[in-house]
């Protein structure tokens, strides 16, 4: 998946990937996609939950060899 901005949260545990996502998303324009790299498995459930509450769109969370890539499209 193509992203406009990538945020590296490798090695960070809950809730830091979400907190960092919340900070980073403010820098994006609406419609842009943020890619969040993480190793904490909680992100599989946490990112969709965060998006549902904040109104941003979770485009999916991919998993490869214990690494997670979450994609968030900023709402307008």
């Amino acid at each position: 998946m193509k992203a406009d901005v990538t945020l590296d949260c490798f090695g960070l545990l809950c809730p830091m990937p979400i907190i960092e996502t919340g900070k980073k998303i403010k820098e994006l324009n609406s419609g842009q996609v943020l890619e969040v790299l993480a190793t904490d498995e909680g992100i599989k459930s946490d990112m969709p939950a965060w998006c549902k509450t904040t109104g941003n769109e979770c485009l999916g969370v991919e998993e490869h060899d214990g690494e997670f890539r979450a994609y968030v499209k900023k709402a307008s």
Partner: protein
């Protein structure tokens, strides 16, 4: 649109419980909620500066000498072992890049979390405003918390 409100009472001064309170406070703030943390009793230790003691009379001074304040020196609710437990826990947390309470205080302030300190504990322990860190937004009592909690979708007591 008005933000959803979340009120948390932080009564505990134990590092583990305070950590849970801050994880929920910072995460809910990053989810767009309007978060207030109301610190009372042992919880006030989180907001106290590191001082040898404070208080106005001898009993308060003695109590506050034993009940040391400062976000970095909170005890654990279990396995405190005269302070060895928190030291080990801090090493474990650092190894996993989990922020300590001081860092969580900073993150919470950056995210606009409001800190309220309980005036009752404040008074009977003989504290002064100078005993507390800068991030305290206001000093208030039970009615302030309850009025806020009434309007909140969630309110927790930790």
């Amino acid at each position: 649109m008005e933000k959803e409100k979340f009120h948390i009472v932080v009564m505990s001064g134990d590092m583990d419980k305070v950590l849970a309170a801050f994880i929920l406070a910072t995460t809910s703030a990053s989810m767009g909620m309007d978060v207030t943390m109301f610190f009372t009793f042992w919880g006030l230790n989180v907001l106290r500066k590191k001082k040898i003691t404070s208080g106005k009379n001898i009993l308060q001074k003695l109590m506050n000498f034993m009940n040391r304040g400062g976000a970095d020196r909170l005890p654990l609710s279990k396995f405190n072992m005269l302070g060895m437990g928190p030291v080990m826990m801090k090493v474990l947390m650092k190894q996993s890049k989990v922020p300590g309470i001081s860092e969580f205080i900073k993150t919470a302030k950056d995210l606009g979390v409001k800190f309220v300190a309980c005036t009752t504990t404040f008074s009977f322990m003989g504290f002064e405003k100078d005993d507390f860190i800068e991030g305290v937004d206001s000093y208030a009592g039970a009615a302030t918390f309850l009025a806020g909690a009434r309007e909140s979708k969630m309110s927790y007591f930790i």
